[in-house]
Amino acid sequence: MPVVLEFDNVTKEYRSFASKRRLRALDGFSLTVEAGEIFGFLGPNGAGKSTAIHLAMGFMRPTSGSGRLLGERFGHPGTRRRVGFLAESVALYHRRAERLVRFYGALNGMGGTQLENRARQVLEIVGLQDHANRNAGKFSRGMLQRVGLAQAIVNDPDLLILDEPTSALDPLSRVMVRELLLGARNAGKTVFLSSHLLSEVELICDRVAVLHRGRLARLGRTADLLRAGEQTEIVVRSVPVTHFEGAMARDGIVSFSVPAHTQRAALEKVWNLGGEVVSVNPLRRSLEQIFLEVTADPQSAASKGVR
């Protein structure tokens, strides 16, 4: 798969003019995003996610290292014609929604009836067709985020870079965005998604990276990351809870987890005790657990390296 976004050992330091203090937002950050995937970009506040996105968009320059967006160095204006971007806390001009979308489309070189039709189409996609003639200045945060999304997709981009695209949306709109992103992937587009909504990332992202203190702390396929741990949850009935370590009982149902390779022995023990097996399920970790693991350990990025 061709690489659409690439960070190569990128470091970014913010320097305070007055105090001469330096804040290292990204520290030797390397990452590649391949075409046709939905890539989840996670990390706690201050991890450097937005900095990485802003570098990719050419809003700032790396202190050291380099990167490429759709094959061109960061900051190449022509490349951005093929990119859709939605900033965190989107801010737009106070214009009628349709005019606004057309304005941003025109900045990307679109025009004429093609732009008019596309503007109407994208407003319909984000569910704002009835508000097309309303001033965006009077929109709620959720509606503003949806207009932001509309302007990001107006040029039918090959790569979508979205920074917290659903933070202000209601559950219904989140489903709409999810379907939009899945549809984009099915159409061969790439989505680079930064989000704190881990359940959502878990649902739609093919690969995930967790950034912590400017460094890549975890990187891998979502399914692989969630499978890691290899534990099995066993739920049984009619067995004394004391026979299994860490078991919990509720309404006569006992549940416990064991390493996958000892699952058979545990089941035999249940049967020997005269118990009845209700269910046996491979235990999946959640992204939240992984996220908490990474961010709880201050040395995780430095000591463990990228996994």
Binding site: F59, R61, R80, F85, A87, Y93, Y104, L107, N108
Partner: protein, 236 residues
């Protein structure tokens, strides 16, 4: 060129409230023209005309000095520069936007001035020449302010602009008049302010051409500086 025009028109549109406030002064001139005896009160009308001209010069510094800051603070700049718009194009849009906003005002002032002052005996062609002087002075002042605003906040940008525009004027007074043309904003302003019914002044195009060249030079310098500026404001 299309993105530059779009950004310029959008900028002028965003300045509609300060512009409308400014245009009230032009309206005052028109009102005075209606209610007073134009021939008897012509010196007063000329004074208001000059006052209006001074206001737009000050506003051009305000427009230029605050444009990038406001866009960065509101984070609107991110969405614009996420499109196929180069930083030089963006800056060109702002320069053109500042000039456009001032030109709209000057056009309104020129129309009203032609009617009121023209009626009182001031050469109408000279009114329009003064407006050209004013627009070129505003374009230059706005571009200098915009250049400083690429790396300073609006307050310091306005201060720095005042110093850069004021020093040649001061040198022109103390050392020799030719120094006033180093950055000819003051000279162009003086052309407007010193004009009178008895001596409207001569139409010298040299400072206008010089201002146009220097606007181009400061625009290039601004673009060079702006290319290296981190525009994403929030340090996480």
């Amino acid at each position: 060129m299309k993105p530059v025009l779009l950004i310029a028109i959008n900028f002028a549109r965003e300045q509609r409230w300060p512009m409308l406030t400014l245009l009230l002064w032009v309206l005052l001139l028109a009102f005075l023209g209606l209610v007073t005896d134009i021939h008897r009160q012509r010196e007063d009308l000329l004074f208001v005309f000059k006052l209006d001209a001074v206001y737009v010069s000050a506003f051009s510094i305000f427009f230029g000095g605050s444009a990038i800051y406001n866009e960065r603070r509101s984070r609107r700049i991110l969405t614009v520069l996420s499109k196929a718009v180069g930083r030089q194009q963006y800056l060109s849009g702002l320069v053109l936007g500042v000039t456009l906003a001032c030109a709209i005002y000057c056009f309104a002032l020129g129309l009203t001035g032609s009617w009121t002052l023209g009626e009182a005996g001031f050469p109408i062609s000279h009114v329009w020449f003064l407006m050209v002087c004013l627009v070129s002075a505003c374009a230059l002042a706005g571009t200098v302010a915009l250049m400083f605003s690429t790396f300073l906040n609006p307050f310091f940008a306005a201060g720095a602009t005042a110093i850069v525009l004021g020093l040649p004027a001061l040198a022109g007074q103390i050392v020799g008049p030719q120094w006033g043309y180093v950055i000819p904003v003051w000279e162009l302003g003086a052309t407007v302010v010193n004009s009178s019914f008895s001596s409207p002044g001569t139409a010298s195009w040299f400072p206008v051409a010089l201002a146009a060249v220097e606007t181009l030079a400061f625009w290039l310098l601004s673009a060079r500086i702006f290319a290296y500026v981190d525009i994403a404001v929030a340090v996480e």
